[in-house]
Structure formats: structure tokens, C-alpha cells
């Protein structure tokens, strides 16, 4: 029997359970009324309502982008629930007040929130459907002047900071999904690192979509003042539903002089079944602004889930000598589609950027890297290095690379390298002939392929990511 290289990816998704909890849910559909209702539920300041309405009116004038290399049936935006929150009394002055069902849910996901069990050196903001249910280590962080809370709380407690920075990196009309998010976002995380402070622990947000009909529209804003630094990680999972759920998030990062932000993502949304039924549409806008000189923003992403991923974490390098980095592993299997990459926009002098992208496609999936390197006329001495590697598993998967390079400065240097490799029967047989099983062989090859990216992740998550990839690919070669 000729074994075809086609079945190493079919490990059941272990986060696919649904939590049975009563929700406070708005009716389906989107209108100005919906926006008033969301804003009222959250008791927001006036400027926030105006921001939302402006965004909504912009969104109405915009059309969904069609340039990504992905296919999906038209989304009915009137069929989505824009606000769904677990019913519980006013949010969490202490964890004792949080519904135990929610704590159990997060525990089951490997994110213990209770005092005794929480991760030693990681502060977590746990977001369930539309709202943040708990944030750990708030007090300890406050001792250092670090603000880490949900964006709803930030709107109440630090409205001036939110007002100053929200929409400053991703303007409301930036793109279709960003406009939608700006209109209806319900929660997300807010981080503020004051001048000169090195954040004493990893910060992390864990997103959980539970409701089968609700979209998740979260908003994250991280501001690092002069000379400060922070490392932030986000993780996400969702139950298995036959229908698709829309996840349209916006993340904005601002780094001032000499500040650095490291943002890591391990994305494990439900990807749909082997035939492409169900799964999350992950249409996300992430952008970092290196506003100050010598600032640095580094994105690391491990994308393994979602039916469709549309995501380009970017850096706008305004400050002289600022640095942007993008390290990505995107794995697609079965019928998953990913169109992901980055944009590095060099505006200041001597700005530098590095792009390392590793795409792995198995099954019948489609994995595209799309990246823009843009060097403006004043960016003397700008440098970029891009490396885009694709790995195919089996013969039905697709990998594409779309690099766009626009250079308007003669003193800039831009390098691009790309490779494509394949895990084929030949390699598996060769390794089998040396006593190495197919599972071990694939995990060895994948680890080797992703090494440059995993090295960028915080240690404990690097191990997780490595395991996650092996799990996702188990059974895809046989």
C-alpha cells in the first residue's frame, strides 16, 4: 500500500467544550441602537460613544476587503450578536466574586486564575465572550505603577489615557474590520507602563469565545512610556461549533523613547472540522507605533487555529533608530486558510526591521505570507531583512508568498530571502529507516523549521508552542 502523506493533522481539538452559563446578550444585528446599547451597558464616557458612532458611520461606507487569498461565504453582519456577557454581579473586586463556573472554565483551559494556582510570574486578564472576568496580580503591578486591567475599567479609571491613545495607531477607518471593531468592541486589555519601569512580570490576556452566535471584538491597547519595557502574551481558544464565529480584534501598541514592547500570540481558535465546517474567522488588525527614538516593538505569533486567518501585525517606525520585528509561525491544516504577514513602515532615520516568517501547510489548506516593507524618503540608513520560509506537508496543501517592497530612499538596504521545502514520503521513509517514527520525524522537522521563531517566545510558551504544533500535526502523515 502506498501510504499517502495526508493524515498527520487530525488530532481532536481539546478546547472545544462549551460552558453552560447564563448570559446577558443583546439581540442579533447591528445598528446605531446596538452601539448606544453597548456603550450604555458599559457605562462609558461620552467620548467613547462618539468614537464608536464615528467608526460605525465610517464602516457603513466601507466594503469588505477582497484582496486576501482566502474564500468564504458572505458574512451576514445582521446575524451576529455583538454583545454577550456572562451574567454576574458587578465585576470582580476580588476573585471570590467571580462565578465559579468561569473560574473552572479557565482552569480547564490551563489558565488557573485563583490565588493558589495562578502562574507564578504571569499576570492574566481573562476575557470570556465580550467581557473581562478577572485580572490577576493587579495590586502587585500597581505597586510598580503598572496599570493592567480590562479596557472597560481603564475607560472608567483612566479615561484620559485611553482617550489619548485609542485609535492613535489604528485609526477608526483604517480598514473594514478595524472600523467594525471600533464601533462595537466590548472589552479587551489595557496596559500602561510608566516611565522607566521594567514590567516585573509577563502580562497575558486569555480570550475565550463561548457563545456560538456572538462575535468577539476585543480591543487591546498597550502604552510603554519612555525607557520602559513589557512582555505581553495572548492566548485564545473557542468551542467547536458547526457555524463560524467572527473575531475582529484590534491591538494597538505605542512605544515612546527607549521603550520596548514584546507582544507574543499563541492563537489556537477552533479551526473547523476536517471538512472545513465551523471555525473562527480571525480578522485582526494589530499595529505597533515606535513613536520614540530607540524604541522597539517585537511581534511573535504562533498561529495554529481559526478557519480563516487574516492578520498582519505591523510596525510603524517613526522614531529614529527604532526597531521593528516580526517572527511568525503559521500552521494550517485540513481546510484552513491563512493570509498573514506583516508591514514594516520605515519613517525615521536608521530604523531597522526583521521579518522571519515560517508557514507550514498540511492537508488541503492554504497558507499565504503577505508582507510589505516600505521605506519613506527620510528614512536614511533604514535596513530590513526578511526571510519567508514555507513548508508543505503532503501534496494537497498550498503555500504562497506575496512580498511587497516599496523603497523611496537610496540609502536604505532591504534584503529578502525565501525558501520552500516539503515534508514528503521520502523524508519520512528515510527517518523511519533510521528507526525514527513518523510522529517523531514530523515533530523534529517542524521544530527545526520553527526554531528561529520559537527562540523569540518566552521560555514556558516556547515549549507549549512546540507541543501545540506537534499535536496539531499528529496523524497528518501516515
Amino acid at each position: 500500500m502506498s501510504a499517502s502523506v495526508s493524515t498527520l493533522v487530525n488530532q481532536p481539538y481539546k478546547y472545544g467544550f462549551v460552558t453552560d452559563i447564563e448570559s446577558d446578550t443583546l439581540p442579533r444585528g447591528l445598528s446605531e441602537e446596538t452601539i448606544y446599547a453597548i456603550s450604555a451597558k458599559k457605562n462609558e464616557p461620552e467620548f467613547m460613544l462618539e468614537f464608536r458612532l464615528r467608526a460605525y458611520r465610517q464602516w457603513l461606507k466601507m466594503t469588505e476587503p477582497t484582496w486576501p487569498d482566502v474564500n468564504y461565504p458572505a458574512i451576514n453582519y445582521q446575524d451576529i450578536i455583538y454583545y454577550s456577557a456572562p451574567k454576574q454581579t458587578q465585576k470582580k473586586q476580588s476573585l471570590d466574586e467571580v462565578d465559579p463556573t468561569l473560574l473552572e472554565t479557565f482552569e480547564k483551559l490551563g489558565i488557573p486564575l485563583s490565588e493558589q494556582k495562578r502562574l507564578a510570574n504571569v499576570a492574566v486578564d481573562a476575557i470570556f465572550d465580550s467581557v473581562s472576568v478577572a485580572t490577576t496580580f493587579r495590586e502587585k503591578l500597581a505597586e510598580h505603577g503598572v496599570i493592567f486591567c480590562s479596557i472597560s475599567e481603564a475607560l472608567k479609571e483612566h479615561p484620559e489615557l485611553v482617550k489619548k491613545y485609542l485609535g492613535s495607531v489604528v485609526p477608526i477607518a483604517d480598514n473594514y474590520f478595524a472600523a467594525l471593531n471600533s464601533a462595537v468592541f466590548s472589552d479587551g486589555s489595557f496596559v500602561y507602563i510608566p516611565k522607566g519601569v521594567e514590567c516585573p512580570m509577563e502580562l497575558s490576556t486569555y480570550f475565550r469565545i463561548n457563545n456560538g452566535d456572538s462575535g468577539q471584538f476585543e480591543r487591546t491597547l498597550i502604552v510603554a512610556e519612555e525607557g520602559s519595557s513589557v512582555s505581553y502574551l495572548e492566548g485564545c481558544t473557542a468551542p467547536m461549533y458547526d457555524s463560524n464565529q467572527l473575531h475582529a480584534a484590534v491591538v494597538e501598541l505605542v512605544a515612546l523613547d527607549n521603550a520596548s514592547i514584546k507582544y507574543s500570540t499563541v492563537q489556537n481558535w477552533y479551526a473547523g472540522d476536517a471538512n472545513g465546517k465551523g471555525g473562527i474567522y480571525n480578522f485582526v488588525t494589530k499595529r505597533g507605533l515606535c513613536k520614540g527614538k530607540n524604541s522597539k516593538i517585537s511581534w511573535t505569533q504562533v498561529e495554529t487555529g481559526s478557519a480563516i486567518t487574516w492578520k498582519y501585525p505591523s510596525c510603524v517606525l517613526v522614531g529614529d533608530n527604532s526597531i521593528g520585528e516580526f517572527y511568525s509561525v503559521a500552521l494550517t491544516n485540513n481546510c484552513q486558510q491563512a493570509d498573514t504577514g506583516t508591514k514594516m513602515v520605515h519613517i525615521g532615520k536608521n530604523t531597522r526591521s526583521t521579518i522571519v516568517s515560517k508557514g507550514i501547510s498540511a492537508g488541503k489548506s492554504k497558507n499565504s505570507y503577505r508582507g510589505l516593507v516600505k521605506v519613506g524618503p527620510n528614512a536614511d540608513g533604514a535596513r530590513n531583512y526578511s526571510q519567508c520560509d514555507s513548508m508543505l506537508i503532503g501534496s494537497n496543501a498550498q503555500a504562497n508568498t506575496y512580498p511587497y517592497i516599496q523603497v523611496q530612499n537610496e540609502l536604505a538596504r532591504v534584503e529578502h530571502e525565501a525558501t520552500t521545502s516539503k515534508i514528503g514520503e521520502d523524508q519520512l521513509f528515510y527517518l523511519a529507516q533510521r528507526g525514527i517514527s513518523a510522529e517523531d520525524a514530523v515533530s523534529m522537522m517542524i521544530s527545526g523549521f520553527c526554531k528561529d521563531v520559537f527562540n523569540q517566545l518566552p521560555m514556558e510558551f516556547a515549549v507549549e508552542a512546540d507541543k501545540l504544533l506537534s499535536l496539531k500535526l499528529e496523524g497528518s502523515v501516515g
Binding site: 502506498s2 521545502s421 527517518l431 529507516q433 533510521r434 528507526g435 523534529m444 523549521f449
Partner: protein
């Protein structure tokens, strides 16, 4: 070397096999005892390489009949990796490149898989470096090869030396060398052959598959078999290889009964 009363390492009887539904092996018989070096010669398409892949358990080859017994066990029942761990080694005609996986990590994974099967303790990365450095000399390889990705960017000769290095590490009971001489210049050929000769002993057996006789100037076979249309049609000693070289494969054709 032919040893009296040596145990049988490999016994193949009436082996038939298909590739993509086309019969390639048509009743192959072969018996190899410990200590012996056998060579199989034959023109392209005679089924030599198919035979080597079937011994190693390549999933694309379908065995349709006959039996293959290796050290008393039915080899055909075992998966490729189990055969390898049990001591069947195939030196590939075209060693495969594996980007991103360091040669050292690969060699250790392979070495430990075999040791585990033998009930021995697995070797940690530090001790393994000592083990592997010792074996590098067999094929005159530089330690810098260990840090490179498996076979990636290796020259033809380097790939073949890497194969023999693996053989030196795994110490197989049966080593099958599939066209190991192809693509080698004379210096590389000598290094590879000397490596093989160092590894041959009275406990293991070698099966050298080759199109040309020149490799057999360096690795002296005890038996030479000629393969024709999926069967072994002649067996002799090393003189047969020389005769074949002198007369060409047409000579074998002419000796075949009409209709075969």
C-alpha cells in the same frame, strides 16, 4: 568472509512484489549468513533497488508473495522503523535532505531508537558527542558536519559518507548498500569502501547492490548474484563480476530462456 556454521541472517524465498500494480520482483531467492558480503548486480530496471526498498519496508512497494525472514523473524510484518531498530540498515542511493534538523540531533535520535529497542539506556547529548566523534574517523568526516542540517548542501560524496557514519553508529546486522558508488569520485569511493570494510565482521552481513563492478574492487564480495527481470539468475564469486564487466549485460540476456 564465509564462516562455517554461521547463522542465517536473511532468508528470502519466492519473493514477488509490485510497484504501482506492475510486477517487479518475480520470485526472488536469496540466503545470507553472518559474516558474508553479497553483491547483487544487474542492469537498470532489473529490480535491484526495488529489492533493497522492500527489505527496508518502503510503503510504496507491495509484496504480493513469498517470504523474507530476518534473524528468524518475519521481516514483512514489521514497520520500516521496527526493521531499522531490529538491525536492518539501508544506505540510500540518494540520501534525503532534511532542512532544519541538525545532523547531530538526527544521529542521536536514530542511535537512541536502536538502543531503546535493544533494551539499552538512551544516551544523553553530551555522551553522544563522544560516541559520534569516535565514529567520524571511520569515514574521515569532519566534526563540522554534525552541526549542519541532515544532508543539506552536502556533496554527493559527503552524503554517502554520512550514510556510512550512520551505519557505523547503528551497527546493523544486515547492511544493504544501494548503489553506494553512484556519483562518487574515486577518492570518495575509496573512503566509503574502507569504511564499510572496517565495519564488516563475522556477526553482520552486507548486501551490496551495484550496477558497476568497480565498487567490488574495494569491497570484496563472497558471493555475486546477477539479477534479471526480478529474479536472481546467476550466482558466483567475485570472478562473476569481472566476467560481467567484460561481457556486458547483453551476455545475461542471451543466456535467458526464450519467453522470459
Amino acid at each position: 568472509m564465509i564462516v562455517d556454521n554461521a547463522p542465517t541472517v536473511l532468508s528470502v524465498k519466492n519473493l514477488t512484489a509490485n510497484v504501482n500494480d506492475t510486477p517487479i520482483l518475480k520470485g526472488l531467492k536469496l540466503e545470507i549468513k553472518a559474516g558474508e558480503i553479497h553483491a547483487i548486480m544487474g542492469r537498470n530496471g532489473s529490480g535491484k533497488s526495488t529489492f533493497s526498498k522492500i527489505l527496508a519496508g518502503h510503503p510504496a512497494y507491495e509484496v504480493t508473495g513469498g517470504e523474507v525472514v530476518f534473524e528468524g523473524q518475519n521481516l514483512l510484518e514489521l514497520e520500516a522503523e521496527e526493521r531499522a531498530r531490529s538491525g536492518v540498515f539501508l544506505a540510500f542511493q540518494y540520501p534525503v535532505e532534511i532542512p532544519g534538523v541538525s545532523n547531530l540531533d538526527f544521529l542521536r535520535a536514530s542511535y537512541n531508537a536502536r538502543r531503546k529497542h535493544q533494551g539499552l539506556e538512551e544516551v544523553d547529548p553530551f555522551d553522544f558527542e563522544d560516541v559520534v566523534r569516535d565514529r567520524l574517523q571511520v569515514v574521515q568526516m569532519d566534526a563540522s558536519f554534525l552541526d549542519r542540517s541532515v544532508n543539506q548542501g552536502f556533496s554527493g560524496g559527503e552524503k554517502k559518507r554520512n550514510e556510512i557514519l550512520q551505519m557505523a553508529l547503528l551497527e546493523p546486522t544486515l547492511a544493504v548498500l544501494d548503489e553506494t558508488d553512484s556519483g562518487l569520485d574515486i577518492d570518495a569511493l575509496r573512503i566509503v569502501a574502507e569504511g564499510v570494510n572496517q565495519l564488516a565482521n563475522e556477526k553482520n552481513a552486507m548486501l551490496v547492490i551495484t550496477h558497476y563492478q568497480r565498487l567490488l574492487d574495494y569491497i570484496i564480495p563472497d558471493y555475486v548474484h546477477v539479477m534479471y527481470d526480478g529474479k536472481i539468475v546467476m550466482t558466483g564469486d567475485k570472478e562473476l563480476a569481472l566476467e560481467l564487466e567484460a561481457k556486458g549485460y547483453d551476455w545475461v540476456d542471451e543466456l535467458q530462456p526464450v519467453g522470459v
